[in-house]
């Protein structure tokens, strides 16, 4: 495995080395090590950490049962942006609603998986590995996707996480993901460990081998990422939240086409066990403001129009609210897929409130159908090879 990755790097090494000394100016396009530089297809994963309440996101506002079990935290008809006479988007999701109206937002209802787990971590492991066995698989689903879709590419920044906590979806046993919060300090100061000193042959200590690989990746990606962020020009007014700033950096990497194939960002705080309305309303606003500006910024840019955004969370929440105007961990919830290449609309099927299992929604679409569609229809990869099983494809791409 290890040797595979190193030979990968070696294959693109000439390009990397050449670009390294080439100065900051027009670094971008040439840096597209080994891949097809006309192809800027990118996936942006937005993770809503903590378990987003699906019923407060795509709201069955006309449903009597919903109104009954969500006595204190429900959204009424005048607080939603109606999609039809049964359901509506949370009232704060104005930007998403106009994307929906313009046919660029796909809403996949009732996404989940069989035998749902209500632990944040174990459930995330399922989403991150696309596998019921979670981390036992040993690898996130993203490196598998990138490997299948772009077998010839070597650039370490194919997978980038912007933020502190790197999700397991980017985890690979052979290399660490490129991850940072602030591009301008993504560098070594003073004595820089030389990349050439990172001996490619094994030291017999697997941890040391891995870290030497990380060191080489850091050396190779540092300049390119800083240049991309620094030279990015946009009129878009990103909100000054951690989420907004991360999306701005994501846009700069996409626009510079430095080879980022999957970019991950997250928005935290969805574990709303108490006083949910206030927190969740705020989160929906943050999410909507960020994504609306981001998608608007990408629109019309060559690379931006080849970008697909997938929004997900580890689980939805219990159907009935708890005793503290909050909700406990539940099961299925909606996913969003947006961007210029997306065929908007409602996909899947709304989970039935009158057919619960242990007080929880029963999922109607396996979330891996969304992954499979992105892999197969968007990236042209063999979805079965990526996910280890066949899942029905959806028509949003």
């Amino acid at each position: 495995m290890r040797i595979d990755r190193r030979s990968f790097l070696a294959a693109g090494g000439g390009v990397l080395a050449a670009s390294f000394g080439a100065g900051p100016a027009s670094a971008a396009v040439r840096l597209f090590g080994g891949g097809d530089e006309r192809d800027g297809r990118t996936l942006v994963l937005v993770q809503l950490s903590g378990g987003n309440d699906g019923l407060s996101t795509v709201v069955p506002y006309a449903n009597d049962e919903y109104r009954r079990v969500r006595d204190s935290i429900r959204l009424n008809a005048d607080q939603v942006l109606a999609l039809d006479d049964e359901r509506g988007l949370h009232g704060e999701l104005k930007g998403l609603k106009s994307m929906y109206d313009a046919g660029r937002l796909a809403i996949v209802e009732g996404a989940g998986y069989p035998n749902p787990i209500r632990s944040h971590f174990k459930s995330y492991d399922v989403w991150h590995t696309a596998h019921a066995r979670g981390r036992a698989v040993g690898e996130g689903w993203v490196p598998r996707l990138v490997r299948e879709a772009f077998p010839k590419e070597a650039a370490p920044e194919r997978m980038v996480h912007i933020g502190k906590q790197v999700p397991y979806s980017l985890h690979s046993p052979t290399s660490a993901p490129v991850a940072f919060e602030i591009p301008e300090s993504y560098r070594w100061f003073g004595q820089t460990p030389e990349a050439s000193d990172a001996a490619p042959e094994s030291t017999g200590n697997p941890a040391l081998d891995r870290l030497r690989g990380v060191q080489a990746d850091a050396n190779a990606s540092s300049r390119r990422i800083r240049d991309a962020a620094r030279s990015y020009r946009t009129a878009a007014d990103y909100p000054n939240s951690a989420f907004g700033r991360a999306l701005r950096v994501a846009a700069s990497l996409i626009d510079a086409r430095i080879g980022g194939r999957v970019i991950s960002v997250d928005l935290n705080g969805f574990d709303t066990h108490r006083d949910q309305r206030r927190q969740h309303d705020q989160l929906m606003r943050t999410l909507d403001e960020g994504l609306a500006v981001f998608c608007g910024d990408l629109r019309g840019r060559t690379a931006g129009d080849e970008c697909m955004v997938v929004v997900f969370s580890e689980f939805g929440r219990r159907v009935a609210e708890n005793g503290s105007r909050g909700t406990d961990h539940g099961t299925a919830g909606p996913m969003f897929v947006m961007g210029a290449p997306v065929k908007g609309g409602l996909y899947g099927e709304a989970p039935r409130l009158d057919r619960l299992k242990d007080g929880d929604l029963v999922h109607t679409t396996d979330f891996r159908s969304v992954y499979a569609t992105v892999a197969q229809r968007w990236f042209g990869a063999d979805a079965e090879a990526v996910l280890g099983a066949k899942y029905p494809l959806l028509d949003f791409a």
Binding site: E184, P193, R230
Partner: protein, 584 residues
């Protein structure tokens, strides 16, 4: 009703102490512990590599002199000293809410009240920071290495975050409880944690009431604190939540049991039935086979860096259980277990951020400002008292990303005084293009660090930051480039008066170490927690030789040159940034 109680509170705990260390707990094999020790004595090789490994994992590293001193003693003696704990460290005096500034609120305007609330919050955050600094200083002192190593483990195991609790008194008291018991008894900690105001607040148990359950604490209690996933059902979670109703925090900040909110009905939990309350739940959990296995597995994996084999897990789970959850027999046996010193374990664990920074300070015998360690570790992903989730921190390779690896090197450079932000920028001709600073949120962040979790409205007031980012060459009022917030925080944490408390040239001269090769050897020995890879020795020697030759000096003459200290510090900085320096 249940009849048996494994532990009936503190009295039983105290009684159990002498009994279990002799191994006579019910159903125990009394010879087991002795047998393990005897086995270890036969095959544990007591050499510098293993001594350093012991101090790396059961503490925060050791100087070469400390390793030499331990080598002169028997392993059992050294381990016993670690396990029985050091002399008591003077505890941090935690100011109670009543001791924080009291102001008469009558007649205040809304704005004044708001300002007052903000000042009170800030004061409380300062106490949290001060307490964190205290703990870091205790870790770095090496006064009680295994206790603090295990306290760090338990802080990630029974974890709570200030981000949610927002109360330094509750957080500090929780930590004091865990640190006091960290080499003591797991059962006592488990019982302590379900009555702990910080935890009850963190996992929303004050909102868990009869007829209106909140399952947050119940679930984590089963999944993370005692049994592990797969060893309980969803019904168990629901019934444990019922049993925990009414356990909450009173207005005085102390534990409070509200009878009227408690569900006194019958519950079925893990196959037992009765009118259980929180204490009964703890008793039931401690009776489960899965409990000792889960805890032993987590401890062994934390200290070794890899999960134990099934056979060793059985062995350590049995030790823990037979000792009624006293931790000493398990720890003693583990630290003397030859398998603890096998190649798969030694030198193969990525040090956590606190490990790395405190370890650098200890190994190099170079005091670091506690605030710098605190902020530095936070930037590297380990913000003490602000764990990322109830699961604590992921250990091992999860610590390393491309950016955290670079930042580790940068931190080492700042600690050694060889990384100066302005100089670096100017030196690379980037001055004109600098200006990535974002003052608007910088100002807010320095006071409202916790606002950045996306939960609060703090960060979302829209500002000129994007224009700032677009601007070329944004300078501060002194005409210097704006520093990224991350580095600015670190710089302010390290303080303007900081200079490294290390004199390498003097140390090497004192030791009579003068040639490139000898200096490299000495530096590797002190700075690394592991045996140096051969190519690293060559590289370091070559670097030193190149720098020396550039100064026109013969091999052996470097230390006499006025530039020697700078050369040595830069070489050490380089070394601390390498992959090998991240391992222990």
């Amino acid at each position: 009703m249940r009849a048996t109680h494994l532990l009936g509170g503190l009295a039983a705990l105290l009684l159990s102490l002498p009994a279990v260390s002799a191994g006579v707990a019910d159903g125990a094999d009394p010879a087991r512990g002795d047998r393990a020790t005897a086995q270890a004595r036969r095959s544990l090789e007591w050499n510098a590599r293993n001594v350093e490994h012991l101090y790396n994992r059961a503490g925060f590293g050791a100087t070469p002199a400390e390793v030499a001193a331990a080598l002169a003693r028997r392993p059992e003696e050294v381990v016993e000293q670690l396990v029985s704990g050091g002399a008591p460290v003077e505890p941090f005096y935690v100011k109670g809410p009543g001791e924080m500034a009291r102001v008469d609120r009558r007649g205040l305007s809304d704005e004044q009240r708001q300002r007052l609330r903000r000042a009170t919050r800030r004061q409380d955050r300062f106490q949290m920071g001060a307490y964190t600094n205290w703990w870091i200083e205790v870790m770095a002192s090496g006064a009680d290495p295994l206790r603090d190593r295990m306290a760090l483990f338990w802080h990630g195991f029974f974890t709570s975050s200030y981000r949610d609790v927002r109360n330094s008194v509750a957080m500090a008291r929780q930590h004091q409880m865990l640190r006091a018991e960290s080499l003591g008894n797991y059962g006592a900690m488990l019982r302590g944690i379900v009555h702990d105001p910080g935890m009850l607040k963190y996992l929303d148990n004050d909102a868990n009431r009869k007829g209106n359950n909140n399952e947050n604490l119940a679930r984590e209690l089963l999944e993370l604190f005692s049994l592990g996933e797969g060893n309980y059902t969803e019904d168990d979670v629901k019934n444990v939540a019922r049993a925990l109703t009414g356990m909450r925090v009173g207005i005085d900040g102390e534990y409070d049991f509200r009878r009227r909110q408690h569900d006194f009905g019958r519950k079925e939990i893990l196959g037992e039935e009765g009118r259980f309350n929180g204490d009964d739940v703890v008793d039931i959990l401690l009776e489960q086979e899965a409990c000792a296995r889960w805890v032993a597995g987590r401890v062994v994996e934390y200290l070794e860096g890899v999960p134990p084999t099934a056979e060793r897990l059985d062995f350590y789970a049995a030790l823990l259980r037979e000792a009624n959850y006293d931790l000493a027999p398990m720890l003693r046996s583990l630290l003397l277990d030859p398998a603890f010193y096998r190649d798969e374990v030694v030198g193969t664990r990525v040090q956590g951020p606190v490990d790395y920074l405190v370890g650098c300070s200890r190994r190099l015998d170079m005091p670091l400002p506690a605030g710098f360690v605190r902020e530095g570790a936070a930037e590297l992903g380990q913000e003490l008292f602000f764990p990322p989730s109830v699961k604590g921190w992921d250990e091992g390779t999860a610590w390393i990303t491309t950016s955290s690896l670079m930042l580790r090197g940068n931190l080492a450079g700042m600690a050694l005084g060889v990384v100066e932000w302005e100089e670096v920028l100017a030196g690379r001709g980037l001055l004109a293009r600098a200006g990535q600073g974002r003052p608007a949120d910088d100002e807010m962040m320095s006071d409202e660090r916790m606002g950045d979790d996306g939960q609060g409205p703090v960060m979302d007031d829209g500002s000129a930051s994007d224009q700032m980012m677009d601007g070329e060459g944004e300078l501060d009022e002194n005409g210097r480039p704006q520093m990224p917030k991350q580095l600015r925080d670190l710089r302010s944490a390290i303080g303007d008066l900081y200079q490294p408390r290390i004199n390498l040239a003097w140390r090497f001269s004192q030791a009579g170490v003068t040639t490139d090769a000898a200096i490299a050897d000495r530096m590797l020995d002190a700075a690394l927690a592991i045996d140096p890879p051969a190519d690293l020795r060559e590289q370091l020697t070559r670097r030193l030789a190149q720098e020396r030759e550039a100064l026109g000096l013969e091999d052996g003459a470097l230390l006499d040159d006025p530039s020697a200290e700078d050369v040595l510090r830069r070489a050490l900085h380089w070394l601390l940034a390498t992959p090998a320096a991240q391992l222990s």
